[in-house]
């Protein structure tokens, strides 16, 4: 089962380490983790995506709550949230595959944001599923490097 945790924490040195350490020590999975400041610079929001049994997911929330630097936790299902991920892919292009790459970008709503004589950097901001699909569609087209932010999520209104 997948669960998304939006964890508001004190924006202090070492907090990321404490939170990540908790997952490691208690053998909880982290599928992805993104951190950013909130409107209050003293508070950061960590978006943690984790998978596990219901019991484990409940423990994650309880154990996170015990951490003194954690202010508040919101846990929600994927279906109850708006999820986005940012992707950069560097691909090798040539006269033969250039058109295919551009078509793929058009179909999936990705953009070409940088290029030189041999490489293009594609950018896409979409749901984690569609990001995965897009990467798959480029598989035969010479991927050089994939950079993903991990899931950023917010609960649906």
């Amino acid at each position: 089962m997948k669960r998304i945790y939006s964890v508001l924490v004190e924006n202090r040195a070492g907090v990321l380490c404490k939170v990540a350490g908790l997952f490691w020590r208690r053998c909880f999975n982290i599928d992805s983790l993104t951190v950013g400041e909130t409107e209050d610079p003293a508070v950061s929001n960590m978006i943690i995506v984790s998978t596990g049994e219901e019991h484990t997911l409940e423990q994650i929330e309880k154990q996170l709550n015990k951490k003194i630097d954690v202010i508040k936790i919101n846990a929600f299902h994927e279906t109850d949230s708006i999820c986005r991920e940012l992707l950069f892919v560097k691909v090798k292009y040539n006269r033969n595959n250039r058109k295919d790459i551009m078509e793929n970008c058009e179909i999936m709503g990705a953009e070409i944001v940088d290029m030189n004589e041999t490489l293009m950097t594609l950018q896409m901001c979409d749901t984690p599923d569609r990001i995965k699909t897009f990467i798959l569609s480029l598989k035969g087209l010479g991927i050089v490097e994939v950079t993903r932010t991990g899931t950023l999520a917010t609960a649906k209104l």
Partner: protein, 546 residues
């Protein structure tokens, strides 16, 4: 005022009277400032024991214990003691010296990332970056350590911050932490629910853990059990909540517990877990034990509820506060039939034990004594309110099953099982209460892990007693190898133990020795009446099982 002076002043404000520590250059400014304060320092012989001693002190006084070490190796030596306190939720503030702030991360001499190393077994940790933060940090540290689910808090204190100007001293009156607000009062609806469930139960049982001691709720629990005639079992950490000979008490549960205690748990239809965390040694097969039962789980730490097994009725809060609330409700329950059955089990088990003990006597090697019977005799010979600290291993198993606690304290490292705990913990307890009788019970191996503290006992004239059960083996592992490794003993035979008599002599302690049953009563009496620190060695057959 510099940072070190500020920290010392904070300790005074917190009412710290004694601390246990060991210096090194990186913490010298702190100890220098301590010289001008009302806080008394006890120089221990190895940092691990500073934490154990502070733990014994905390468990005796109910206050937060304080221990101090230097950076690097001093701090890393402290770690086992910190982890021990964490596992048993013992409130400590641990202060470590640290290299100068601008050198942090450069792998300089005696640098260790102690807050990183301890992260998973401290309740919280601080690295002091600004001397102006010291009063807030110390106020928070003591509050965090001693509230909610108690535990150790680490303050890492770089040398330059100790020496930096800290400005005008002002100690905060109040705590304002938006992220830490432990629940004290139990949810009213759940409390009613607990009473309702209890009224419905035919075979209810209370299983009490260390949380009851930590909350100071022993009296409330005893009264509650007596009022409704509820049978009580305990975990290792819950020993002493009920006097051992109480008719409603059915011993310790778990792997090493009493058979009748485990039977009582198995046959109950409602288990009320109070301040116990359903740990593997107490409930090795929670699925089996809990099936078909109502489980009421009362704990100050919400994460413990449902961690191992799902509770029917969870109740989060301070145990003492909760039981004061429960007291106001009326519960109707008739446990007489269940109690009769459990009492039969207890009587039968005790008879079986006597027979087994007689049979064992015949097999026992000459010039050795029965450790179980000895511990029982010891408990009766000790003062009613005496404190016993118990080490780890066979001695602990024998003590859990045979030491009769009356009004005293039974202190052991239940969660972490740190060998060598008993001696320094007893030292801390005796330093806390000079006039109370304090005995450390250890095996010969555990004793040798921390026996350097005899130096501290000697220096500060701590009038405590040490009982060593000597069997020249690492008894519990030896026993394990006997049963599970077909008697292939590796690393568990400790031949050529030192002459403990000479060691006692070296530290100017009195020495007693028992190797015959006939000597037990007389020697024990003399040993316990001795005003001096004393060591008693009892010879035990290595083949004796716990």
């Amino acid at each position: 005022m510099n940072g070190a002076q500020s920290l010392v002043k904070c300790l005074e404000k917190e009412g710290v009277e004694k601390l246990f520590g060991y210096p090194g250059v990186a913490i010298v400014p702190f100890f220098d400032a301590l010289k001008d304060s009302s806080v008394e320092e006890i120089l221990i012989r190895q940092e691990q024991n500073a934490a154990h001693a502070a733990g014994g002190y905390a468990r005796t006084t109910g206050k937060v214990g304080v221990c101090v070490a230097t950076s690097g190796p001093g701090a890393t030596n402290l770690i086992t003691g910190i982890a021990t306190a964490f596992a048993d939720s013992i409130p400590l503030v641990c202060i470590t010296g640290q290299v100068e702030s601008h050198l942090l991360g450069n792998d300089v001499f005696q640098e260790a990332d102690v807050s990183g190393a301890c992260e998973s077994f401290v309740k919280y940790s601080y690295i002091v970056r600004d001397p102006a933060d010291i009063p807030r940090i110390v106020k928070e540290a003591f509050y965090i350590a001693g509230s909610g689910r108690k535990g150790p808090v680490l303050i890492d204190f770089p040398m330059d911050i100790q020496l930096a100007e800290a400005g005008k001293f002002s100690y905060p009156k109040e705590i304002s932490m938006r992220t830490y607000k432990p629940t004290v009062r139990g949810n009213g609806k759940q409390i009613k629910n607990v009473c309702l469930q209890l009224s419905k139960a035919k075979k209810p049982i209370l299983c009490v853990g260390g949380g009851v001691h930590l909350s100071g709720a022993e009296k409330e629990i005893r009264q509650f059990a007596e009022r409704y005639q509820l049978p009580v079992v305990s975990t290792m950490m819950g020993i002493g909540v009920m006097p051992s000979d109480h008719p409603l008490y059915f011993g310790m549960v778990g792997n090493n517990g009493q058979s009748y205690g485990n039977r009582a748990m198995n046959e109950a239809d409602l288990i009320m877990m109070v301040g116990a965390r359903v740990a593997d040694r107490s409930v090795s097969q929670p699925g089996l034990v809990m099936t078909g039962k109502v489980l009421i789980h009362i704990d100050v730490d919400p994460a413990e509820i449902g961690k191992i097994t799902g509770a029917t009725t969870p109740l989060v809060g301070d145990i003492r506060t909760i039981f004061k609330e429960i007291e106001k409700h009326e519960i109707t329950t008739d446990t007489s039939a269940f109690l009769r059955k459990l009492t039969e089990y207890k009587t039968q088990a005790k008879q079986d034990k006597q027979i087994a003990s007689r049979n064992n006597m015949r097999k026992r090697a000459p010039h050795t004594i029965d450790p179980a019977a000895f511990i029982h005799t010891l408990s009766n010979a000790m003062d009613k309110d005496a404190i016993i600290t118990v080490d780890v291993g066979q001695n602990q198993m024998w003590a859990c099953a045979n030491f009769a606690v009356r009004e005293g304290l039974f202190l052991t490292s239940g969660g972490f099982g740190s060998m060598g705990y008993a001696l320094p913990a007893a030292m801390g307890a005796q330093i806390a209460e000079k006039d109370r009788q304090v005995v450390a019970l250890c095996g010969d191996a555990g004793f040798q892990m921390t026996m350097m503290e005899l130096g501290t006992i000697h220096q500060y004239k701590v009038p405590m007693k040490v009982v060593i059960l000597q069997n020249h083996t690492l008894g519990l592992v030896y026993q394990y190898q006997k049963l599970r490794c077909e008697k292939r003993y590796t690393m568990t035979e400790m031949d050529d133990s030192p002459h403990f008599e000479c060691i006692a002599q070296a530290y100017e302690m009195e020495y007693y020795h028992i190797s015959e049953e006939s000597e037990v009563n007389d020697v024990l009496r003399e040993f316990l009446l001795d005003d001096h620190p004393a060591i008693l060695v009892c010879d035990v057959d290595p083949e004796e099982m716990a």
